[in-house]
């Protein structure tokens, strides 16, 4: 029974993808299937959180092969939270895509690919096996490749070349690291690895493999200095694709880092986690400085993904209960806010005709509602109270102060200030100043039909409301993140759940 339950986050998107593919020529049916599938995924995520709350960590042995021999799917609080948040963004983007993605792209297979991507992401969140994690990364990658070039505009091909090249290097590194890990320990089950890693004679070799994982996952999660594929590609596809990429792809890398560096490689924390801390600081700074130099709506946001990844890795690298809790909370907050900002950029493009900040303007005067919808996630990203970003940053700063890492705390605060600078730039250019071609946004050539307007703004409004809710009613979310962090830092419960209680 549990095996079915933990397989649901993978089954639901795959079944949805197959149905959407089989729906053939009827776009209406495809759309309904897509939205319904995303809604079911969200329900599954919430159900999993509830089940973990009730019964503790859920383990399902696939094909009834007992771990560590077979592949086990393991859902703890972190996995369940990630699946739920995938459901939320999946649903929001699925609705948004109804009004945004080209009909031609829908015909070529946007909906099946979109759900395959969600399936790959959820698989990576739920698996308890290293090689299986590699396979889910590949599922996610191949569908993201296809989504990225859907429409085959020149800029997309150009961005995809860089995205594909660097990500393939990352998967090869990941594969080698998994192979070497197996050679050292003779197992690929994560819980079993937790037990066997301390018994490896040559601990230097373990650290070397750990560094290979940092590089492999670092490329995926866009850490300094491995992030260059991200701002090269994320602004080229349709906005729905950018939004789901920005929300999920890098966060799978972050999730993998959190999982691997709390469960498996904890034997040399002084070296690996300090290295992560330094990387986190530089990642924050380069990302935010890169954003300051950009003048295109989505490219600014892309660079901000990089800088925000730094915060999450900072939480992990501090490696205290508060730090890891902050990292988990930050991931949740960031996914909602960042996807939302990308969705807003799409609306701004539709209303004014361009993503280039120099060529647009006048949104505040003619579309005050859209302006509010931008301000909420933008302020949240920068960390202004009382929005979710404020609490996320507060927790991390407090965690840093607790163990006296003043330099990283100073960096985090400085980057927060510079984030406000970028958001102010977008505000001034797109919303405040008048349109350079004296076009009234949302009229004439850039008019939006009522249906499109509702479909585009409803998901944004929903996610903005969620940011405000997390900000004003923080307690339950903090408690959930704390529970997740406790499970991460006390892997014994995880190991016992997977391998059975040990004498």
């Amino acid at each position: 029974m549990t095996a079915w339950l933990v397989a649901l986050p993978i089954l639901v998107p795959f079944v949805t993808a197959i149905l959407a593919f089989l729906a053939g020529g009827s776009i209406t049916v495809k759309r309904w299937i897509s939205v319904a599938g995303a809604a079911v995924l969200l329900a599954v995520g919430l159900l999993l959180i509830h089940q973990v709350y009730q019964h503790g960590i859920l383990v399902g042995a696939m094909g009834d092969w007992p771990p560590p021999f077979g592949i086990a799917l393991v859902v703890d609080f972190l996995s369940a939270i990630m699946v739920a948040i995938t459901g939320i963004t999946g649903l929001a983007v699925a609705v948004y895509a109804l009004a945004e993605v080209d009909r031609a792209e829908e015909h070529v297979g946007f909906h099946p690919l979109f759900h395959l991507l969600l399936g790959g992401v959820c698989g990576a969140f739920t698996t308890g096996d290293m090689f299986n994690l590699y396979v889910w990364f590949e599922v996610m990658l191949i569908s993201s490749f296809a989504l990225l070039v859907l429409g085959s505009r020149k800029a997309q091909i150009d961005g995809a070349v860089k995205y594909v090249a660097l990500n393939l290097v990352s998967t090869v590194l990941f594969l080698v690291a998994v192979g070497l890990l197996y050679g050292m320990t003779g197992t690929l089950n994560m819980a079993d690895l937790h037990l066997t890693i301390p018994q490896v004679e040559n601990q230097g070799l373990v650290t070397a493999v750990a560094l290979m994982f940092i590089v492999a996952f670092g490329i995926k999660s866009a850490l300094f200095p491995l992030f260059f594929w991200l701002p090269a590609a994320y602004h080229t596809p349709s906005v729905s694709v950018s939004a789901i990429f920005s929300a999920l792809l890098t966060k799978v890398g972050v999730y993998a880092l959190i999982r691997v560096f709390t469960l498996i490689f904890t034997q040399d924390v002084g070296y690996t986690h300090n290295l992560l801390l330094i990387i986190a600081g530089i990642t924050m700074l380069t990302g935010v400085l890169g954003a300051a130099a950009q003048n295109e709506f989505r490219r600014i946001l892309s660079f901000h993904i990089v800088s925000q990844i730094g915060y999450m890795i900072m939480g992990l690298a501090l490696y205290t209960p508060l730090g890891v809790m902050g990292a988990v909370f930050y991931v949740v907050h960031h996914i909602i806010v960042k996807a939302n900002l990308f969705l807003v950029s799409g609306v701004a493009n539709r209303l004014t005709g361009s993503f280039e900040l120099k060529k647009i303007g006048g949104l505040y005067k003619s579309q005050p509602f859209v302006a509010v919808l931008f301000l909420v996630p933008a302020f949240s990203l920068a960390g202004l109270p009382p929005l979710s970003g404020f609490w996320a940053k507060l927790v991390l700063v407090q965690a840093g102060l607790e163990i006296g890492s003043y330099l990283i705390v100073a960096t985090a605060l400085l980057v927060g200030l510079l984030t406000i600078y970028s958001m102010t730039k977008i505000w001034n250019e797109a919303f405040w100043k008048s349109h350079p071609d004296a076009i009234e946004p949302g009229t004439g050539a850039v008019a939006l039909s009522r249906r499109d307007y509702i479909l585009l703004t409803a998901p944004i409004a929903g996610m903005a409301a969620l940011t405000v809710i997390i900000g004003l009613w923080t307690e339950p979310f903090i408690l959930l993140a704390t529970a997740a962090a406790e499970q991460l830092l006390n892997p014994d419960a995880y190991v016992n759940a997977v391998l059975g209680a040990r004498p």
């Binding site: 090689f131 590699y134 396979v135 590949e138 990658l141 191949i142 490749f145 296809a146 070039v149 085959s152 020149k154 800029a155 997309q156 091909i157 150009d158 961005g159 995809a160 070349v161 860089k162 594909v164 090249a165 393939l168 290097v169 998967t171 090869v172 594969l175 080698v176 998994v178 192979g179 070497l180 197996y182 050679g183 050292m184 701002p231 090269a232 590609a233 602004h235 080229t236």
Partner: protein
């Protein structure tokens, strides 16, 4: 035997990195193909090599009687080969599309998604003047 294979992996990785450092996209892809094969060989080697004892259980027995070769690394490699076949096929088609659409396989000249700013143009011109003429091999 492990030593020989390790050295082979090392040579393959060296060659692939040399190829991947080129600006030519096709060279890069050849490097990547070589690298993924080196990865498979590395997994094979790290799973230990056992000579002439296939992982077979004799009739009537429930467990193998003697030491047998570990079949798991080969299963992993098989999965990895299938996956990398798909990914590399996609990458090759993408490279071909890039050549058709953008008219070049030089990654330095692919600047549509990230147009060069005036400052960057000046900087790269200055750099070129400093570093001497570059080869323009296709």
């Amino acid at each position: 035997m492990e030593v020989v294979l390790s050295v082979v992996v090392g040579i393959m990785v060296t060659a692939s990195i040399y190829l991947m450092l080129g600006r030519n996209l096709v060279k890069f892809l050849f490097g990547l193909i070589l690298l993924s094969n080196a990865a498979n060989l590395a997994i094979f080697t790290s799973g230990r090599l056992t000579w002439g004892s296939p992982p077979l259980i004799p009739e009537g027995a429930l467990v193998p009687i003697t030491d047998i070769a570990n079949a798991l690394p080969q299963a992993l490699i098989l999965t990895a080969i299938v996956i990398s076949f798909g990914l590399l096929a996609f990458a090759l088609v993408l490279a071909y599309c890039a050549y058709q659409e953008l008219g070049t396989v030089d990654t330095d000249e692919m600047r549509i998604a990230e147009p060069e700013t005036e400052f960057a143009k000046k900087a790269s011109r200055a750099w070129r003047a400093l570093s001497g003429p570059r080869d323009r091999a296709p």
